[in-house]
């Protein structure tokens, strides 16, 4: 906790201050919860037009697939909010008066604030394709998007999903769960290969096809055709191929949802510009989550980060700053995870799609082609830079520590038995990973596992 400054200079710190949060996603809700823990007098209000209660956005797909109902994806029971005196307002904000410190709502009375936290989230990108406003064409970000996807796919003989990223593959999986044939247009030469190295991208691509998804690599959308009643009837690719379909999922990324703030005194660029404390250019107005753009990104981070985990950390940090002591945002080593159909993916540290010397790479793939492991490291210092794991689970804490301590790639590989997080009785993958590494680099690494006292006497702590 360095570079702290007095809280009084940072924000209004009066007793019973009115803190209003726009947005009830992971960033806004985490911030509200942490604020409540540290400031029992503050009046905290969370406004959302999307849903009354917080839900897990990443779980929307499971409602469509029938794995869960809406109630299941709410992380807290409905009594939680009142018990913690978090006042929920279910309405859309239509205007922010930064001078008067007041919010106009669509339905309800205006709300005044002392401190305003903008946690506005994202919206789906649309790149001006002809026909993108037709019925049956949509992105997937909000609860309303999910509802319209349900309605739009009621009688659907074929769907097209555009965009080879995380939301694209989710939409394809959702549609396949209802046995709807899917054509998946990916502009890149391999799936998500602007993020994943070639081998990983190819592995996922194979798995996509294994799920009977018509994956079209290097294919771009040109236009969407109208059936004459305002509904989609087909798409045309840049190659001129016409693919008849009744649903088009646009999953070409998301952007900060800041339309509300255009032409106001608040400084925005791609997102709301914030400093390292999440302060905007207006006093007592802060922003966190997807809608944020760092003026100076933290080391090795991009200016806009739209990930669940970063949203959560923003919320944690800002709550600390508002209620305790302002500290700059300092995320630890990067981590992320996803699930591509049946293949789980975890990444720790920095693994870009391409790299150059002095970065070296070690890649291992299981003969079944569904599991792989990559480690990037500094060829001179041997320190680990990052890892990708597909189809296997690894311990976050182990890699967090290894990356912070500059552990060498050899040390990390030797400790893979400790790092392993696969369920009990699963085939051990580390022997063949180590063997491959030894072969490639002429080493003779052996797996090491922390010895742990085990036995009858351990019951008594002996």
């Amino acid at each position: 906790m360095i570079e702290a400054k007095p809280i009084g200079d940072f924000c209004i710190n009066s007793r019973g201050r009115r803190i209003v949060i726009i947005g009830n996603g992971i960033a806004g809700v985490t911030c509200a919860r942490q604020l409540r823990k540290r400031d029992s007098a503050a009046q905290i209000t969370i406004i959302s037009g999307e849903t009354e209660h917080f839900f897990s956005r990443t779980a929307l797909m499971y409602i469509y697939m029938g794995h869960m109902k809406y109630a299941h994806i709410k992380p807290y029971e409905d009594w939680f909010w009142e018990k913690n005196r978090l006042n929920l307002v279910h309405d859309w904000v239509t205007h922010i008066d930064f001078e008067q410190k007041q919010l106009q709502l669509q339905q309800q009375e205006p709300i005044a604030y002392d401190i305003l936290i903008l946690a506005l989230g994202s919206k789906s990108n649309k790149f001006g394709w002809p026909g993108q406003e037709l019925k049956g064409v949509q992105g997937l970000y909000s609860y309303q998007d999910l509802e319209s996807m349900e309605a739009n796919t009621q009688s659907c003989a074929r769907a097209v999903v555009v965009g080879g990223g995380l939301i694209g593959i989710e939409m394809a999986e959702m549609l396949r769960s209802r046995n709807i044939p899917v054509t998946f247009l990916v502009r890149e030469q391999e799936f998500w290969d602007n993020v994943l190295p070639q081998e990983e991208a190819k592995l996922v691509g194979r798995h996509i096809r294994e799920h009977h998804i018509d994956l079209r690599l290097g294919a771009e959308l040109d236009k969407i055709l109208d059936d004459g009643t305002g509904k989609v009837k087909a798409i045309v690719t840049k190659d001129g191929e016409e693919i008849p379909c009744q649903f088009v999922g646009l999953a070409v990324g998301v952007s900060p949802n800041i339309d509300l703030l255009r032409n106001t005194a608040l400084e925005v660029n791609k997102g709301i510009l914030v400093d390292e404390h999440f302060a905007t250019n207006i006093p007592d107005v802060f922003a966190i989550g997807d809608c944020v753009e760092y003026r100076t990104p933290p080391p090795q981070r991009r200016p806009v980060e739209q990930v669940w985990y970063t949203g959560r950390m923003h919320g944690e940090t800002l709550a600390h700053n508002l209620a305790h002591q302002p500290v700059p945002y300092k995320p630890g080593p990067w981590f992320n995870s996803a699930k591509f159909l049946d293949i789980e993916y975890q990444t720790y540290g920095q693994v870009p799609s391409t790299w150059e010397k002095p970065t070296g790479s070690f890649y291992w793939e299981h003969p079944d082609g569904r599991k792989c492991f990559r480690a990037l490291f500094d060829e001179e210092k041997r320190t680990l830079l990052g890892i990708n794991a597909f189809g296997m689970r690894l311990r976050h804490e182990f890699f967090d520590e290894a990356l912070r301590n500059g552990t060498t790639v050899e040390q990390v590989l030797e400790q893979l038995p400790t790092a392993n997080f696969d369920p009990e009785f699963y085939d051990k993958l580390y022997p063949s990973i180590l063997q491959a590494f030894n072969q490639q680099f002429g080493t003779s690494l052996q797996p090491r596992k922390k010895k742990e006292k085990k036995g009858i006497l351990s019951i008594f702590g002996l």
């Binding site: 906790m1 992971i26 942490q34 823990k37 897990s56 990443t58 779980a59 499971y62 409602i63 697939m65 029938g66 794995h67 869960m68 109902k69 299941h72 994806i73 709410k74 029971e77 769960s177 294994e210 799920h211 009977h212 669940w308 985990y309 959560r312 950390m313 944690e316 940090t317 600390h320 500290v327 945002y329 300092k330 995320p331 630890g332 080593p333 981590f335 995870s337 699930k339 049946d342 789980e344 975890q346 569904r370 689970r393 690894l394 311990r395 976050h396 804490e397 967090d400 997080f421 696969d422 369920p423 009990e424 009785f425 699963y426 085939d427 742990e452 006292k453 351990s458 019951i459 702590g461």
Partner: protein, 516 residues
């Protein structure tokens, strides 16, 4: 497409066999003869009952209902008379209703036992397997929960409610009106003769169907959790223990003139273990009886604490136990129906520990009574036994425990009622190496873990704050870890230090140490 047709055919065969099975209860006639009465009663009782039952002897009834009504009427009239005259020693305490009704059954069912066994139980099993085996055939291994929430059967729709009502009905008949299902027990007579040398009781019928349900639905588990070694091994284990320990070995013991005994059943789930007739049975059965008795006591005082210390209560609840075996196989389609609310947890804690106290107190009184030569409490413990047997043994474990699968999930009994689960849970909570580890800050709060937790644990509550899950109720089925899309959960046995962390810190944010 071809396979889909085959699967539908399998389902059709299963349903047809089930329909026929149910129709059997209404087939044939019921006629008690002197000879039949002699077969099912003791010689002295036969002499008494023959004249009493004279009006119904040789009379043909078209339903078991009508027959057993009359049987009970005349049988009861005799007993009432003795009681009114305070001739207590002449009252017949044995209940012959089931045996007499079974003996009285004649005609189509009684004459075609083996054929009908094949057409109902065997064909139903074959149909179910035909439906199950091709499942997920063209799909890569992975979680198979598509459309669960849209299913009428699995999501408390009309089919689920009908099925629940049907199961409840079956249990009511089994426990309190077995004379109505004598035709079913006739079918399994040949199997019972083969195993134990005797005719089938309703309990043998129940054991047969129960074991088949675990085996067939176990195969379904193999299909559903293909590629998941934990689930596959665990399912194999419950299938093995049910088939051998709970079904075959006890019957073979009977064949050898030893008491029926399930070596893996543990007091207080096995609440009759210390009842005088059980203890006498052990003591009168030579060295094998002694083995049963000593083994049973060792399980209670050493087996449960030691095994639970090393592996958590899962070693029993989801690897060995018969109730758990059914819940984990036949009950798997309903696991998400358990209530995850904080309220349900409060009810659970009071209820399950309440049953444990009830069982312990009852058993202590029984033992005291036994050693005092029935001087101290007399027949009072019998009343207690009757109430426990009715409320806990039959109504809770049976009717609610299984009948409520499609309504409240597959672990209602284990969660709210099982005294052994409560005992195992206390050890697991306070002195065990078992926990579900949360993987740093990787949780996305999606809710799959909580939704599919059959014990109604809100797993996500812990996972999203980076906290290990240490709960008395967790049976270690491992499904939370299986359904987690981000690899956040792992069932582990490890050092007790760091097992429980009250105020966890989420990995990943170096700005602040967040106290979740």
């Amino acid at each position: 497409m071809h396979m889909k047709m085959l699967q539908k055919l399998g389902l059709g065969i299963f349903l047809a066999a089930l329909l026929l099975f149910n129709l059997l209860l209404f087939m044939g006639n019921f006629r008690l003869t002197e000879q039949k009465l002699q077969q099912v009663t003791s010689p002295e009782n036969y002499e008494i009952l023959r004249p009493e039952l004279e009006p119904i002897l040789g009379k043909t009834y078209s339903t078991s209902f009508a027959f057993s009504q009359d049987f009970k009427k005349y049988f009861g009239a005799y007993n009432t008379r003795q009681q009114e005259n305070e001739q207590w020693d002449r009252v017949i305490w044995d209940d012959y209703t089931f045996a007499a009704t079974k003996a009285a059954s004649e005609g189509f069912v009684a004459n075609n036992k083996l054929l009908l066994l094949l057409l109902t139980v065997a064909l139903g099993t074959a149909g179910a397997l035909l439906n199950i085996l091709p499942k997920y055939r063209d799909e890569p291994a992975g979680i198979k929960h598509n459309s669960v929430m849209f299913s009428s059967n699995k999501s408390r729709g009309v089919i689920g409610i009908i099925l629940g009502a049907y199961l409840i009905g079956i249990y009511v008949l089994l426990y309190w009106f077995p004379e109505f299902i004598v035709n079913w027990t006739l079918l399994v007579d040949p199997l019972s003769q083969l195993l134990s040398g005797g005719p089938a009781s309703q309990w043998f019928l129940y054991g047969t169907i129960y074991t088949l349900a675990i085996l067939v639905m176990g195969v379904r588990m193999f299909r559903k959790y293909r590629g998941n070694k934990y689930q596959t091994l665990r399912t194999s284990s419950v299938m093995f223990f049910q088939l051998s320990f709970a079904f075959l070995i006890p019957e073979i013991l009977v064949l050898l003139n030893k008491p029926w005994h399930d070596f893996k059943n543990i007091w207080p789930l096995d609440y009759t273990f210390f009842y005088d007739y059980r203890v006498d049975g052990f003591l009168n059965s030579g060295s094998i009886g002694m083995l049963m008795f000593v083994w049973g006591i060792l399980l209670i005082i050493l087996g449960v604490p030691l095994m639970t210390y090393f592996y958590g209560k899962r070693w029993y609840c989801s690897w060995v136990c018969g109730c758990g075996g059914l819940a984990e196989t036949a009950g798997d389609p309903y696991r998400h129906l358990s209530d995850k609310s904080l309220n349900a947890w409060q009810v659970e804690r009071w209820m399950v520990h309440g049953v444990l106290v009830f069982a312990v107190v009852m058993t202590l009184l029984t033992i005291v009574n036994y050693f005092s030569g029935f001087e101290l409490l007399g027949q009072w413990t019998n009343t207690l036994h009757e109430w426990y047997g009715f409320l806990i043994g039959a109504a809770f474990a049976g009717v609610v425990g299984v009948g409520f699968y499609p309504l409240m999930g597959n672990r209602v009994w284990c969660r709210f009622g099982c005294p052994l689960a409560a005992y195992l849970g206390l050890v697991q909570r306070f002195k065990s190496r078992f926990r579900i580890t949360t993987n740093g800050g990787q949780c996305i709060s999606c809710g799959n873990c909580s939704t599919y937790c059959e014990m109604g644990i809100d797993v996500r509550w812990y996972a999203q704050r980076g906290q290990n899950i240490v709960r008395a109720s967790c049976v270690g089925c491992g499904v939370c870890a299986s359904v987690c899309p981000r690899g956040v959960l792992k069932l582990e046995n490890g050092p007790e230090q760091q097992r429980i962390v009250d105020i966890p810190i989420l990995t990943g944010n170096e700005s602040v140490k967040v106290l979740s």
